[in-house]
Symmetry: C2
Subunit: 419 residues, 2 copies
């Protein structure tokens, strides 16, 4: 193991650790275009500068840092003219609200450290390598997950994004400008120079623990979506209004939340209401409106459609009997993404000598890798073992030795691709 | 009907109408010690000044405006030395979040108009009359209903109140000072000059509509309380965490909310969850904590205890099976209040000539009248018909003719008391 890579990894991890960490929970609040996000971006730019990487800011909030050992023409086409040759690695630096330290940053830190390791090994890559840090991967501020990679690849249009506002009503473009990120939304130039993408990420489950291995590859991402459930009823006095006379959207929501949990459990899928907005949200008034966001995931697109339809149907039925109304709006839906089989097989074969058979597992979590894969970029993912499976939580964790193993495996994968 | 009283009433109603009204909902946001509250207080002071009433600000945010036709000694003792002689009328000017125009202001406007009407009639009261406007009756900002009258009568101590903060963490004392209301919490001097209190209020139910009469009297206030339910679980990834592995406090809350509604319906009581706070409140994370406030009311104190215990018990049982925790904290509990039977009978008899038999009905809503009654002040309440029964809602309404009838009945009641 490269000693200076190890030192570099640990130093980067220490530098990042305090940024955006809540003293109360120990969790992270790294929402895009906030002051904390500015510190995190500055940290990334400094790391790139220290390594002589050329940073490209794409106007969608994404940062892509290039290590070019040959002239730029090598970056736009393969030697045989077969397509762009750049190898993109990286992940994201933002977090969910009160999230963990690993989801996102582990992939960025490992990528920078993998560059260090290749240099220690004396590898002179015959393809350009780029380390990416994508913006608003979690959608924690503007509601659309993977917003940066969606914009860069065109799956979200600038017009759609220009209409986005955060919970306080601040438009995306204003937030970007206020943070000193010159907005210029739309398909990114760097995408035309990327021949493949390998994203390393902490596992968000216990598959690798159960298999007793530190590193895995991904097969596919489950289809998933976010759906806004607006339950509307009639505000009234909490004391004087007879129970039978009420049109209380809180009760309709409560039944719908229980139906969602039960339905997902019965079918082996996932359904979660984790975010709510209640009006007027007063103790002694029946609510007039409850807005709840459903996060739903299923093994196939047909199953996802059935799951959401079943939850909506049970909610609508209860709304009928409560005298309330339910309206469901799909805010973002991602179809199934199968990662590139040839690329994954190439990595798997290349890693086998040193790592033995590397398991390939599906994931229920969305990633920028899924967005770029859907946009036609040959893409693979690598996972690092998570001892508890916990993620999107202050308790998210990976062993330092596993993080370093992941970095080495990523460097090994790069060697396969750029040698 | 006094023409100038009618004009005065309508003018006051027009002047108040725009203050704190939401353009979006038509409902009112008149939270204490806000800019809007300042405008409302200024309006009240101007009305008192125009009538030559002497305003006493008690340092708890309450305003009590005296009409004294005889020297002050008459205000501290009855002619026979039997106790304080002042007759207090009035209500409150604050609202719930997105509330109606009538809950509170109708009692204050009617009281000022009743003073006008007595003067039109040439009545020279032999007891001082005071018009009160109580602070934070709804508890919409600092969480304790009837905070002003509780402080003035000693049922909430200054030390308890000094610890109160609003949802943004602003302490009560800072909010008062920032609003230019010099805080001096504690038992109010005016209370020693009050011999009885008659509060007029819009009905928050349909009893008077069903009986076909515009005005009623109150018998008692149901016992009621506010209870904070803290459900804590474990944040985790909404996609990757198997349903069976979750400790999701949202599901525990949902079951508890449904149990509350069902239990209240079965027993003829009231139970409402209208206010929620969720952490971290992100779409793709299972919640780590759901805090929900239960508003519960029952016909007797024993039934209230049983109702809350049953809801808590069902919630705790579900928490056990969800692997979450439930902690319940009573934030404020008010016992049953029976209004003064002798005073109510005197008013009923005095009103009968003109109004026929005036029904006496219980109410499930808390009022400042309940606080002063519990503090030993002989107290009665008058209700004005509400055609829909809706309250704590932008849709709250009373017919203008009924509002004027209520004002006349209040003036008639005053004549009974001060002649």
């Amino acid at each position: 193991m490269g000693q200076s890579m190890t030192d570099g990894f640990e130093q980067m991890w220490r530098d990042l650790a305090p940024l955006g960490r809540s003293a109360a929970s120990g969790g992270y609040f790294r929402q895009p275009y906030t002051a904390v996000d500015g510190e995190v971006r500055t940290w990334f730019l400094e790391q790139c500068a220290a390594r002589g990487l050329e940073v490209e800011a794409d106007g969608n909030g994404n940062l892509v840092a290039w290590w070019m050992v040959r002239p730029l023409q090598g970056a736009t086409e393969g030697a045989d003219g077969s397509g762009p040759s750049g190898v993109l690695i990286g992940s994201h630096l933002d977090s969910v609200l009160d999230g963990g330290a690993y989801d996102g940053p582990l992939g960025v830190v490992s990528s920078l450290a993998a560059v260090d390791l290749l240099r220690e090994r004396g590898v002179v890559p015959n393809r350009p390598i780029a380390v990416g840090a994508f913006a608003e991967e979690e959608g924690s501020r503007f509601g659309i997950a993977c917003l940066g990679s969606r914009l860069a690849s065109g799956s979200t249009t600038p017009a759609q994004a220009a209409g986005l506002r955060d919970r306080e009503g601040v438009p995306l473009l204003d937030a970007m400008a206020a943070a000193g990120v010159e907005p210029s939304l739309g398909r990114a130039a760097w995408l035309d120079r990327v021949g493949c993408f390998v994203e390393l990420h902490v596992e968000q489950g216990r598959d690798l623990v159960d298999r007793g291995v530190p590193v895995g590859l991904a097969t596919a991402i489950w289809p998933h979506g976010r759906y806004r459930f607006d339950f509307t009823g009639e505000a009234n006095h909490a004391g004087t209004t007879r129970m039978a006379d009420r049109h209380d959207p809180m009760l309709t929501f409560a039944m719908t939340a229980m139906a969602a949990g039960r339905q997902a459990e019965l079918t082996g899928q996932r359904a979660t209401f984790g975010r709510l907005d209640v009006a007027p949200n007063g103790t002694n008034a029946i609510a007039s409106r409850v807005t709840a966001w459903l996060d739903a995931r299923a093994a196939s697109e047909a199953e996802l459609v059935r799951l959401v339809a079943e939850i909506e149907g049970q909610g609508a039925e209860r709304a009928d009997s409560d005298g309330t109304r339910l309206q469901v709006t799909a805010e973002s839906v991602s179809g199934e993404v199968a990662f590139d089989a040839a690329l994954t097989a190439e990595l798997s074969a290349g890693l086998a000598d040193r790592w033995g058979p590397v398991p390939a597992i599906p994931t229920m979590a969305g990633h920028d890798a899924g967005i770029l894969a859907a946009a036609g970029v040959p893409t693979a993912m690598m996972f690092v073992r998570n001892p508890t499976g916990v993620s999107h939580s202050p308790a998210e964790y990976a062993e330092p030795a596993d993080c370093l193993a992941g970095t080495e495996a990523l460097a090994d994968a790069l060697e396969v691709l750029v040698s």
